[in-house]
């Protein structure tokens, strides 16, 4: 027994050594700002570009950019904040805007208020308000989720539609156009993954509404916008204008690969669409359709988007704030670079004076895409996402099959309300 115990000890010792050597590597570096982000080719790459831009004037500070997948990052962040142990948190973390209030309100004190340190008047107002609790704003706003209707100019042309025919339309008109496109070209207008409730969120915000009231109470049963959104979605689902797909990969593959004629989504999709250079010059962008007969309905909305947050526990928070301020709230050239490189559409207004933002894009049939988005982003109705958007999304998704089958919208709304009430207690 003795001999074997020593054996274990030796093995455990070896393991401890292996681990310890790893620890000392990271401890040896001086001012190192650690950043967590979630898409290596998008926000990760943008952060790397920011690190390069900062390194020119601050060679003594290094950035350690760690990529996770989005779910993994949220899980790590939530685990550590919940455990109340902050030593292993990064200095800067990327959070999707829908989740911002959840983190800020459930973990008060965990994030550093940047009010007074960042000039928020230079950022798109809706990005600022979604990261504000009381008098304090906590984020350095990053990319916009401003929505557009991205369409194939060649296919629409074949069906007899000019770009102007897609401007300022309603969803009903969109369905008519879609039917026409399929009749003339044989291709479906859009693809839909019924496990994704993004379209409901787009529709709600386009009319300045959300699942929750400003005070955080559920706004479901008497929400005319939600009713209109679900009714419209039911029309789309029953019109047969779409190609059903499963999951994000199928979803993006369908329009990127040219199988469907259009997609309505956030501006961050540009990087992906441009990935297929074969279709260069055959794309255009219009504002999304708007809800019919709803007060306050617009053609402008938002899907996703994210912002950088500094952890209050960070020993390097001053360096982190300095970095964010100098690059993400001060470097016009940097913003041109990530717009061209990653298709990352920032929400720092002065960036729009740069060349990349002003130029027309040959990929999008020489439309001034970025100028358009810069205009649209200012017209997005501001809403308070509250702290339970994930829960509400799940409740909506649970009713989609019934809605698709032609079920009563009233019943669906009741069921959504019941589930949300249960989930948020």
């Amino acid at each position: 027994m003795n001999m074997s115990t020593n054996g274990w000890r030796r093995l455990i010792g070896a393991a401890v050594m292996a681990g310890a050597s790893m620890l000392s590597v990271s401890a040896a570096l001086a001012t190192e700002i650690t950043v967590w982000c979630w898409a290596p080719e998008f926000n990760g790459a943008a952060m790397k570009a920011a690190a390069e831009a900062y390194a020119k004037s601050n060679p003594d500070v290094t950035l350690n950019i760690v990529d996770f997948d989005k779910g993994a990052l949220e899980q790590k962040l939530q685990t550590q904040l919940a455990a109340g142990i902050t030593t292993d948190l990064p200095d800067i973390v990327l959070i999707e805007d829908y989740g911002a209030q959840k983190y800020l309100q459930s973990f008060p004190g965990a994030f550093e208020s940047l009010t007074g340190k960042v000039d928020y008047s230079k950022f798109a107002p809706y990005k600022v308000s979604l990261a504000t609790v009381g008098d304090n704003t906590y984020s350095l706003p990053f990319d916009s989720g401003a929505t557009g209707l991205f369409y194939r100019t060649d296919l629409l042309d074949k069906a007899g539609f000019k770009p102007a025919d897609l401007e300022g339309i309603t969803w009903d008109r969109f369905i008519e156009i879609a039917k026409e496109v399929e009749a003339k070209t044989g291709q479906k207008m859009i693809d839909i993954d019924i496990n994704d409730a993004g379209v409901i969120r787009i529709m709600l915000q386009s009319a300045g509404s959300w699942y929750f009231n400003a005070d955080g109470s559920p706004n479901i049963v008497d929400n005319a916008v939600l009713k209109a959104a679900l009714t419209t979605y039911q029309k789309i689902l029953q019109s047969g204008i779409y190609k059903p797909v499963s999951g994000w990969n199928d979803y993006t593959a369908a329009f990127m690969g040219g199988e469907v004629a259009s997609v309505y989504t956030g501006v961050w999709i540009v990087g992906g669409i441009k990935g297929n250079q074969e279709l260069s010059g055959k794309w255009g962008v219009a504002p999304i359709p708007k809800l019919d007969g709803v007060e306050g309905a617009t053609n402008f909305s938002n899907l996703g988007g994210s912002s950088w947050y500094v952890l209050a526990s960070s020993p390097n928070k001053d360096a982190a704030i300095d970095f964010l301020n100098k690059v993400w709230a001060g470097d016009v050239d940097f913003y041109q670079k990530i717009l061209v490189g990653q298709g990352a559409f920032g929400t720092w207004m002065p960036a729009r004076e740069g060349d990349a933002y002003k130029s027309a894009d040959p990929f999008f049939s020489n439309q001034p895409v970025w100028q358009n988005f810069s205009d649209w982003v200012q017209k997005i109705p501001g809403v308070n996402y509250g702290i339970f958007t994930n829960e509400a999304d799940q409740a909506v998704l649970a009713q989609i099959p019934a809605i698709q089958a032609g079920g009563s919208i009233e019943d669906a709304i009741k069921a959504i309300d019941a589930q949300i009430q249960q989930q948020i207690q």
Binding site: I194, Q394, I424, Q425
Partner: protein
């Protein structure tokens, strides 16, 4: 005199052999379990807790997602575990037959799925079962279906997909245990039974199954636990959808803890539902095994 010394030696050795494991289990399992048990009586969001008594248990009875998750988990259990274990046992005994040609090839082929990681195999299954993926293409070419099956958008087929994926991944895994155990059965028993004219099926049910009982018990208990904790596959392949059709208890716990506004107390309560469920089912399985061995 020497009898008591022997007994004392047995005691000392018994403890020495298990001590390292028991110690580690105490630290890394018992403590967190007690913590979690305490949590299951707490209510509140994030880190703001207060004692809630039975509030969480009452919440369970009114929670539609919990009820869906529980039903789904039981459906997976009732269909998947028997299908997989029967298949594994039949394959193992077929492979144990020395007259079967290409045994090495078959054995290797059927083992192979268990070397894939969950992240890898769910990536594979998603792409194979996509709407225009190779599975739909094959089924359509064979005229078994004339429309592609929407594997992850249809509540029924999503369940079928999850069951197929788990069965693909774990059948060979369970077969390993059966094959290893079959080696311990003396071939001559089979030979003798054959000479006596006992047919193959009866040799299977009357020799193989009873001899393998300890291993069958082991695999059925672990598979039951695995299915009651089913998480990886539904998390990676279907994300619990469509419309919660593949939501399981473990995935719901994960959502309550990491995706939603954190309700650790309620999440702990849901996890104790699994604990109680497993305890009952394990007891039943052990009890049945004991009864049969007496008979």
């Amino acid at each position: 005199m020497s009898g008591t010394r022997l007994a004392r030696n047995e005691q000392i050795n018994g403890w020495l052999f298990i001590a390292p494991s028991v110690l580690l289990i105490g630290i890394f399992l018992v403590y967190p379990i007690l913590w979690s048990l305490w949590m299951s009586f707490q209510v509140g969001k994030g880190m703001n807790f207060s004692f809630g008594g039975f509030t969480n248990i009452i919440r369970l009875t009114k929670d539609p997602i919990f009820q869906i998750a529980l039903t789904n988990t039981l459906i997976f259990l009732v269909f998947q575990v028997p299908i997989m274990l029967t298949l594994a046992l039949l394959l193992a005994s077929a492979l144990n037959d020395p007259k079967l040609k290409f045994r090495g090839f078959f054995r290797t082929a059927i083992f192979l799925p268990c070397v894939t990681s969950l992240v890898a195999y769910s990536a594979l299954f998603r792409s194979m079962f996509s709407n225009e993926g190779v599975v739909n293409k094959t089924l359509m070419a064979m005229h078994i279906i004339d429309q592609p099956i929407l594997w992850t958008s249809d509540p029924f087929w999503a369940k079928v997909l999850v069951i197929s994926a788990i069965t693909w991944r774990w059948t060979g895994y369970n077969m390993i245990f059966y094959l290893a155990a079959l080696q311990n059965i003396d071939r001559s028993i089979y030979e003798a039974a054959k000479i006596d004219g006992v047919p193959a099926w009866a040799r299977f049910t009357q020799i193989t199954v009873p001899m393998l009982k300890p291993v069958i018990l082991f695999t059925s208990v672990t598979s039951t636990i695995g299915t009651l904790q089913l998480f990886d596959e539904v998390f990676n392949i279907t994300e619990g959808g469509p419309a919660n059709a593949t939501m399981t208890l473990s995935l719901y716990i994960y959502n309550l803890t990491f995706r939603f506004m954190p309700s650790f107390g309620y999440a702990s309560t849901v996890s104790y539902v699994i604990v109680v469920g497993v305890a009952i089912l394990s007891f039943v399985q052990f009890y049945l095994a004991r009864e049969r061995s007496r008979a």
